[in-house]
């Protein structure tokens, strides 16, 4: 299927993580009484943010690889130089 599920997963968890981190960092800290005094929004939000970013990175890398492979198959040697994605 044309859509790589890692990209929406990555995006969603990055956004949710960001919301929780920001709320944890700037929100009222009195609400953490029930979570045993731990700022769980900040902590867990960062975990989700990292997870989301990783998923996104893998999804983008996978997409580039697939595109490069398709290009290579289509245009022969022409695409060879682009087959290795940057980063990661």
């Amino acid at each position: 299927m044309g859509l790589d599920i890692r990209i929406p997963i990555g995006l969603m968890f990055s956004i949710l993580g960001m919301i929780l981190v920001l709320f944890g960092a700037f929100g009222n800290s009195a609400i953490y009484q029930r979570s045993l005094g731990i700022n769980v929004n900040l902590d867990w939000g960062s975990v989700l943010l990292v997870f989301g970013a990783l998923m996104l990175a893998y999804g983008i890398r996978g997409g580039r690889r697939a595109a490069a492979a398709a290009k290579e198959a289509g245009a022969g040697n022409q695409a060879g130089k682009q087959s290795r994605p940057n980063g990661h």
């Binding site: 919301i19 709320f23 867990w44």
Partner: protein, 599 residues
């Protein structure tokens, strides 16, 4: 419950993605195979997570936490005995026939292997069952939204009374599931199941960590709970000495063999996820990959229930006053965070025949969320809960539209139409499947007994199924007439057994004993497991006997459908960690280890 803007924002983000996936997939739905089988193009890990997620409906999440609170760690038998071995079996031994035969559904496999009547029986009973299951899922979600008063504020803002909560929950959930399946078919359902898998972990894991920290870790939990709550096999030699009320043989045979193999190996709802895989080896790995998270899920779904029971002694005064939104957790007769069940008609606490209060174990998860989660994390947890309701529904709807279109409509109503026509029919089936589910949800509000009755009938129909598949796949002599009569007599045996037995303390009726009383079981569970064992054995024996006296099909027609006549799929080209047999052995080893650790 007081949800703030942040909680709503989190929920909103999730729903944007759910629908967004549907819209993004719309342009890829070109043929009926794209719509019903995701074009057989998905990688193993996606199918694997969807495989597990389709089963992880909210009834499972809420029910397993409830069992955790009621029975303790013995609930893990539903995972380590009642799921893992069957998941390994379907991946290693059965998937070659499901995937290899190119059947598009489980009933279609039956028609290839046996005949039309066996397929028809399976297709019609399965399609009916999916509609009711999805309706019951909707009903449960709407009830939970009502109990938690999630929609009170928005409804008040719109000038509507609380009475609208139920209707709005049903309609909204129906429309959302409709949109994303209508647009993106099975792919959309599978992608959303993967999303939901991660969301459930994200929503419930912090809950478990906070809870464990609160009760002093596993050792603290062991200290607070009776010892048979933290040892899964203690007292299993006798039904009267363990919390489940069933002895080891009934547990292993009834749950571990008949019910578990019957569900994981023959239920199209889960098998469909593996059929969407991009290759035979991916299809075989699907249930094995699913087994990995399944094994550790007791941590996320059972442990919260156990913590909910253990919590009060360690809660400080500050915690209790800080939780004004809780649902009567401090009611005198309740236990931990589990309140006494309130009769919905009278509004008074319920008591059993011994005069003891009945506890509402289903509130274990919701109350844990309210107890530990501050704004923000609360939104995430509730979103996870709603997501699991929806994906339970969506799984049923996709299984329904496929079986309806391929196994009922194409087979008996309109043969030889164009592929476009069947794609269109699939979309229509999605619409009327959801409308029927909504109808079932409303029926559940009016006639609760009818729902219980239907679930019982489905249990009778399902119990013998695995005997038919086992013989069909591994004994080439099995005939269509035998499969059909075997299934019918297995179902009859289940009904007969149920009609002649009762669990302890129950009265004749929906619980059994409606034909007379021959035997009394120590618990509901023991009765269920033994009903399944009787049904399976009857089907197995009758199928063999009838096969002996009917004419088998020619061997050349059964190539690809029966074990002894099918070439074994080659694994040589795969790296060792991708080989189904290696993965299967690894999964079984870990499951054994978990049983030993929590012995």
């Amino acid at each position: 419950m007081n949800l703030t803007l942040i909680d709503w924002l989190i929920m909103f983000v999730y729903f944007v993605f759910v629908l967004g996936i549907g819209f993004a997939l719309k342009r890829y739905m070109k043929s009926s195979t794209d719509f019903f089988l995701a074009g057989r193009s998905l990688p193993a890990w996606v199918c694997g997570l969807a495989f597990i997620s389709a089963n992880l409906g909210a009834q499972e999440v809420i029910g397993m936490a409830a069992s955790g609170a009621k029975y303790g760690i013995a609930t893990s038998h539903f995972y380590w005995i009642g799921a893992i071995p069957a998941m390994v079996f379907v991946g290693v031994f059965m998937m070659p026939f499901y995937y290899g035969s190119r059947a598009r559904s489980v009933p279609e496999y039956l028609s290839l292997r046996f005949d039309e009547k066996t397929r028809g029986l399976n297709a019609i009973s399965f399609a009916t069952m999916t509609v009711f299951s999805s309706g019951i899922s909707m009903y449960a979600m709407a009830k939970l939204i009502q109990v938690l008063h999630i929609l009170d504020k928005p409804l008040a803002a719109m000038g509507l009374s609380q009475g609208w909560t139920f209707h709005i929950s049903i309609i909204l959930s129906g429309i959302i599931v409709l949109i994303y399946i209508f647009l993106g078919g099975l792919t959309s359902a599978i992608y959303n199941e993967v999303l939901q898998f991660f969301l459930i972990v994200a929503g419930f894991l912090p809950l478990v960590m906070l809870g464990l920290k609160n009760v002093g870790g596993w050792s603290g939990l062991k200290h607070d709970l009776p010892s048979n709550f933290t040892h899964s096999w203690q007292g299993m030699s006798n039904a009267h000495t363990n919390p489940l009320g069933v002895e080891w043989f009934g547990l292993v045979m009834g749950l571990g063999f008949v019910l578990s193999f019957g569900y994981w190996c023959t239920d199209f709802l889960v098998v469909q996820r593996a059929m969407a895989a991009d290759s035979m080896s991916s299809a075989r790995r699907t249930p094995l990959i699913a087994a990995l998270p399944k094994m550790v899920f007791p941590l996320i779904v059972i442990l919260p229930g156990m913590i909910a029971i253990a919590v009060p002694k360690l809660v400080t005064a500050a915690n209790v006053t800080g939780t004004g939104t809780q649902i009567s957790t401090t009611a005198p007769q309740g236990k931990g965070l589990i309140p006494v069940k309130i009769d919905p008609d009278t509004g008074k606490p319920m008591f059993n025949t011994d005069g003891k209060p009945v506890l509402d174990y289903d509130l274990a998860i919701p109350n844990m969320l309210l107890h530990y989660c501050p704004t923000g994390l609360l939104g995430l947890g509730l979103t996870a809960l709603l997501a699991s309701f929806m994906s339970g529904m969506a799984g049923n709807v996709t299984a329904f539209n496929t079986v309806w279109t391929y196994d009922i409509y194409q087979s008996y109503i309109h043969k030889n139409a164009s592929d476009e026509h069947y794609l269109w029919m699939g979309r229509m089936a999605t619409i009327f499947g959801i409308i029927l589910s909504m109808g079932a949800a409303y029926a559940a509000t009016r006639f609760n007994n009818i729902m219980d009755f239907l679930q019982l009938v489905f249990a009778f129909v399902n119990a013998p199924l695995f005997a038919t598949f086992l013989l069909g796949m591994f004994w080439k002599r099995t005939t269509g007439h035998a499969a059909f009569t075997g299934l019918l007599s297995g179902t009859a045996a289940a009904a007969l057994h149920h009609g002649l037995t009762l669990p302890e303390g129950a009265v004749a009726g929906i619980k059994g004993g409606w034909l007379g009383l021959v035997h009394v079981y120590p618990s509901d569970m023991a009765q269920n497991f033994w009903t399944a064992i009787w049904a399976w054995t009857t089907c197995f024996v009758v199928t063999i006997l009838v096969s002996m006296v009917t004419k088998p099909r020619e061997e050349k027609e059964l190539v690809g459908l029966v074990y002894s006549l099918t070439e074994k799929p080659s694994e040589g080209h795969l790296p060792w960690y991708k080989r189904p047999a290696v993965l299967g052995v690894f999964v079984l080893g870990v499951a054994l280890l978990l049983n030993i650790i929590f012995w």
